[in-house]
Symmetry: C2
Subunit: 149 residues, 2 copies
Amino acid sequence: MKEPNSPDSPLADLCRQRGLKLTGQRRTIAFVLSDSDDHPDVEELYRRAVEVDPRISIATVYRTVRLFEENGILQRRDFGGGRARYEVADGDHGDHYHLIDADTGKVIEFENAELDALLDGIVRQMGYDLVTTRLSVVGRRKAKPRSRG
Amino acid sequence: MKEPNSPDSPLADLCRQRGLKLTGQRRTIAFVLSDSDDHPDVEELYRRAVEVDPRISIATVYRTVRLFEENGILQRRDFGGGRARYEVADGDHGDHYHLIDADTGKVIEFENAELDALLDGIVRQMGYDLVTTRLSVVGRRKAKPRSRG
DNA sequence: TCTGATAATGAGAAAGATTATCATTTGCAA
DNA sequence: TTGCAAATGATAATCTTTCTCATTATCAGA
Ligand SMILES: [Mn+2]
Ligand SMILES: [Mn+2]
Ligand SMILES: [Zn+2]
Ligand SMILES: [Zn+2]
């Protein structure tokens, strides 16, 4: 266990702000999420949550990520592989996209205002308002160009 | 049944070109795919295939779309909803993206060379070669601007 | 602080999509 | 035409996620 009854995590506070009942399990999951800067799936969140409070159930993790997503606290991501992955919907962090390393699976985040604007313009021109952009690119690390000789 | 023992469909020919054994089931599924211009899931492909040859099995449809995808004949798409959807990997048709109508679920294809180039440049600048772009946007039809009066 | 209504939880069943198994059939090269 | 490797059909198994329902916990109000 780490950081037991400390002041609530940012996400736990958000939880309360949204008028959601703040149970022990939700406090734990909120803490784990606030503490993560990657894109864990539910199994991984469960593992991390159990470290904090061993009597949490995976059913509750599923329920909680769904609840948090519905309340705009979490964002669900799909990087292929059949499982949903989650990250905090951070207003500061801003919208971002993901590059997945084809060989290692590593996820690299990036932002690009030109891309934002281009997508928005394309969709608008088609007569729609953009609601969601689902974008991830898979790439393979370029071989370092060798100095010839 | 429609179009029984006619000349093979373009996809069936492709199948043969790749050295894949051309079974009756594969011929049927290839025909159904060539005949489709939308993004059917496996269940839908199965329904369409059964119209042509009633003794086809859904297991074979699953196997065949996987085989065709592995051989670059089909492209798998994910528009959410938990099922894979497929379309012919058409060289002529070119790479394209998908706009999903948030209210109706309708899928609208679009191409955009600027988007192609921008994504390629972004990925390259991060030190990667672009392998796959997974992009779909969800949009909501704009209300027609009313002439005020 | 105590109580009760209500909502959340845990454990496991169920659902839904996809893949694996295995006995039988089929395509196709010789 | 034959033989064999590969494909098929039927169905079991797998995997992720949701549902069910009896039990427990939260929290507003007394
Ligand atoms: Mn994982
Ligand atoms: Mn369907
Ligand atoms: Zn991210
Ligand atoms: Zn398409």
